[in-house]
Amino acid sequence: MDWTMWVEWIVKGFVLCLILLTGFAYLTWYERRALARIQVRVGPNRAGYQGLLQPIADAVKLIFKEELTPGHVYKVVFILAPVLTVVPSLVLAAVVPLGTSFNLFGREITLYVADVNVGILYLTSIASIAVYGIVLAGWSSNNKYAMLGGIRSSAQMISYELTLGLSFVTAIILGNSMNMIDIVNEQRGLWFVVIQPVGALIFWIATLAEVNRAPFDMPEAEQELTAGYHAEYSGMKFALFFMAEYQKMIVISMILATLFFGGYLGPFVDQVPLLGPVYLFAKVIILLFGMIWVRATWPRIRYDRLMSFGWKILLPLSLAIAFITATGILLADVLNNQLFFWSIPVVSIIALLVAVAFIYRDLRRKSHGRI
């Protein structure tokens, strides 16, 4: 084994982490500015040009905050929980290809940390580790709000993980591989979002729930549980939870872009490989804006509705979508008729409309109280 490989791994790992950390910092700025625009406010604009130094000021402030570990908590777990939350959120990005490769000092540098042939399996497994951090944080805090928040959170996350897993299955069926790079290359002709828009939508909804974003920010539910599982955390340990949430937002948008929106693909990306990260970055920013927009405009779904939405609507729908996709591709293959292939989006959208109709019926059927 070559020592340069080790250097390359360490440097790439470090650089990726730094990209994500910077991304996290500036995502907070981006979110605050975008929210402010939507809410007829200005947002942070004092530190630096257009408030661009605000994230740095925040980081410095957090470093100089008291690192408090209250006496009533289970100390080891309490300190490990934020670490256990933040590490998966960083490592998740290892298999996401930012581009192909480029030459640096005669050495071929690939624009991804690892090219794992079961990349998607890796994603599902790492993504589910994050729930440990949250539930352990809730439990070790020895606080009722935190406990309730942690338990709620774990139940919600595992419920939506099923949907997430089935959406991954849809992507695998379309890409005919578990390797992220293969899936991207498969989209050279056509982004998968065109073939399977509903799959992309379900994936996006499930990720919103996975990263505990509005309208699924149940575990935090400021109005009900004050801060949920991180009620007892302060200073840098709290910042790690915060960091994990935003990094997961970024990474999961990267994954969504990779699986359904052509990843790093774009014009001239084959000639200039360094354009790959730029394209991915642009797609991620647009997807992130969607998340921020939802947060700015939607109230929170009540917990019982959220669970029944996950179990009764999204799970069957995602199962149906995966199945429709497979059937369409298979029939097109076997009968050699492209019509079946193009019926996939049509049938999927019909399935979606049926699901929406179910929700509407449920909303209308709600009884009018005890009168």
């Binding site: 939607w298 917990y303 709600k366 009884s367 009168i371």
Partner: protein, 582 residues
């Protein structure tokens, strides 16, 4: 709606000749009931005379007559003037009066308040704990022989503040930190919070877990929501017993913002109280001023200048609009929407506050009303602003908010079908205001018992019939529209002329007597009960705060609901802690 019956038609004395007498003190009205027969008379009033709404319960300490008096004000939800009856006990502890909680559940908190502040023991009350003060407080501060720490004189102006004809501030005599008298041997460092066993005991006692079937032995968890909680609208504390996500029992705990408004009222002169009323419901200082001014004018028996009446109505309705806008914004905020609707609502509110600032000099603490009129006339440019707002901007913005919000699926899903109160529960709990009207009772004081010049305007009483959260939310929009209708007419009809029927004066002469004046504040029925003995200060000054009384229903409303709904239900009552704790 039946024709409003006047007080004179009710002859309680001939109905109960043995134990009811008419109150014949000069300036007083109503009936005096023997306390042994109180429940009987109350039940008859409710069932035979249809006085279904218990408006207010309060006590007055007549130390000179050695009597403690409990005053009850009843009204009909069909409208018309009310009836007042009193009962008296000797001023010897324990002063026991039968509780009327079985007749009107709305007596609950008000009787607890009377016990807390006056020491009247309501026998038969199931949960007679202190409500505004804490357990372990010594004495009952509204008794006339109670003297607070650093007591100087019974009434203002205190002579010590004018030592040589110059005013000195109390703060100079008693600097900050020294202005508290602590019990002897009290060390702040080893302070132990008061014992709360009584609260948790009463929480346990009213729990549903004894009635509902066994939930596989899961623990019921007692959680305190508040006082430092983002969604209890201030420092309200609610002790909640949870089974998972479901509330099995709850008890509101209040008083963290208590300043004994009633006692402040007794210390100050009539006009000095006016700015204090601003602080009750600090969103609607105009409405509070209105209620207090109406009451004292009733007592003084003076007319109000014609133009001032219209200015009052304009201000009160603007205040209602901004209150409801805030309500809608903050409700959706409580549902978990990241501030966006509330900030849109705040934008409109700022414009209304601009008007308040233009007329009174203050945006929130307006102190604008005077007995017989208002302080200043509306400046011409402010008048133009009001017209622009009422005719163009506010209707358009209300439409816009309705268009954005009413059909939002999550909002509808969260609000529709979630029961708040039905008409019967609401009336029993003395709930007034939009919550009552959303349950299908068209009880609006502007129509039911018109005050000021409201009888000259053409408007509908907003009413909805389902009593769920969605109706409670929509009725706020309805009321904004009706307020705009009133404003349009008021702006058209407003006459020129003086703005006060009286001369500007610092001290008003108030004849002896009692008065109960009520107005429709945006949160419900705001009433003031003022007893005068002819001196410059009121003998008794009591505020019937709508937020406080509406809160009585919170237990009925929230038991058995999800904790997420609890937050929204609490928002539905539209409480302001300045008014609850007083």
């Amino acid at each position: 709606m039946t024709a409003p019956a006047s007080t004179t038609t009710i002859d309680l004395v001939s109905r109960f000749p043995e134990f009811v007498t008419a109150d014949t003190r000069p300036g007083f009205s109503g009936f005096i009931v023997k306390k042994e027969n109180l429940v009987e008379v109350a039940t008859a009033l409710r069932d035979e005379f249809n006085f279904d709404l218990l408006s207010s319960v309060t006590g007055v300490d007549y130390i000179a007559d050695n009597k403690m008096e409990v005053v009850y004000h009843l009204h009909r939800t069909t409208g018309g003037p009310g009836i007042v009856f009193k009962t008296q006990v000797d001023r010897v502890d324990p002063m026991e009066v039968p509780s009327l909680i079985d007749v009107w559940a709305g007596a609950d908190f008000q009787e607890r308040e009377a016990w807390d502040l006056l020491g009247i023991k309501f026998t038969g009350h199931p949960d007679l704990r202190r409500i505004l003060l804490w357990e372990g407080y010594e004495g009952h501060p509204l008794r006339k022989d109670y003297q607070e720490a650093f007591f100087e004189e019974e009434t203002k102006p205190f002579k010590s503040r004018w030592p040589e004809g110059h005013h000195t501030y109390a703060e100079f005599k008693n600097p900050f930190r020294d202005n508290i008298k602590l019990p002897e041997n009290f060390k702040l460092d080893n302070y132990q919070p008061e014992n709360e066993d009584q609260l948790y005991f009463s929480l346990e006692k009213s729990s549903m877990k004894h009635t509902s079937e066994n939930q596989m032995g899961t623990d019921h968890m007692v959680v305190n929501m508040g006082p430092h909680h983002p969604s209890t609208h201030g420092v309200l504390r609610v002790a909640v017993e949870l089974n998972g996500e479901t509330i099995t029992s709850l008890k509101p705990v209040m008083g963290y913002l208590h300043r004994n408004h009633d006692k402040i009222g007794e210390r100050n002169t009539y006009l000095q109280i006016m700015p204090f009323t601003d602080r009750l419901d600090y969103f609607n200082s105009m409405a509070n001023n209105f209620g207090y001014a109406v009451t004292v004018e009733k007592l003084m028996n003076i007319p109000v200048a014609e133009r001032a009446e219209y200015i009052r109505v304009i201000m009160a309705e603007l205040s209602r609009i901004q209150n409801h806008l805030i309500f809608i914004g903050m409700l959706i905020n409580d549902l978990g929407s990241m501030y966006t609707p509330s900030l849109y609502a705040f934008e409109e509110r700022e414009l209304i506050l601009d008007i308040f600032e233009a007329v009174s000099g203050a945006r929130m603490m307006c102190n604008y009303f005077r007995f017989g009129g208002v302080v200043r006339d509306i400046p011409a440019d402010a008048m133009q602003k009001i017209k622009d707002l009422v005719h163009d901007r506010l209707p358009a913005k209300t439409d816009e908010m309705e268009r954005f919000l009413n059909e939002n699926e999550v909002l509808v899903g969260r609000l529709k079908g979630v029961h708040v109160l039905n008409a019967e529960e609401a009336i029993r709990n003395s709930v007034t205001g939009p919550v009552l009207r959303a349950a299908g009772v068209p009880y609006d004081l502007r129509r039911a018992d018109p005050y000021s010049v409201y009888d000259r305007f053409d408007f509908d009483v907003a009413v909805r019939y389902n009593g769920d959260m969605y109706d409670n939310y929509l009725i706020r929009f309805d009321e904004i529209r009706q307020s705009l209708r009133i404003l349009e007419q008021a702006l058209k009809q407003i006459p020129e002329g003086p703005i006060n029927s009286q001369k500007p004066q610092y001290q008003v002469r108030v004849p002896a007597g009692e008065a109960y004046g009520r107005v429709e504040s945006p949160k419900g029925e705001l009433a003031f009960y003022v007893v005068s003995n002819g001196k410059p200060n009121p003998y008794r000054y009591h505020v019937r705060a709508p937020s406080f009384v509406n809160l009585t229903a919170v237990e009925t409303m929230c038991k058995g609901t999800k904790i997420a709904d609890f937050v929204a239900l609490l928002a539905m009552l539209d409480i302001v802690m300045g008014e609850v704790d007083r």
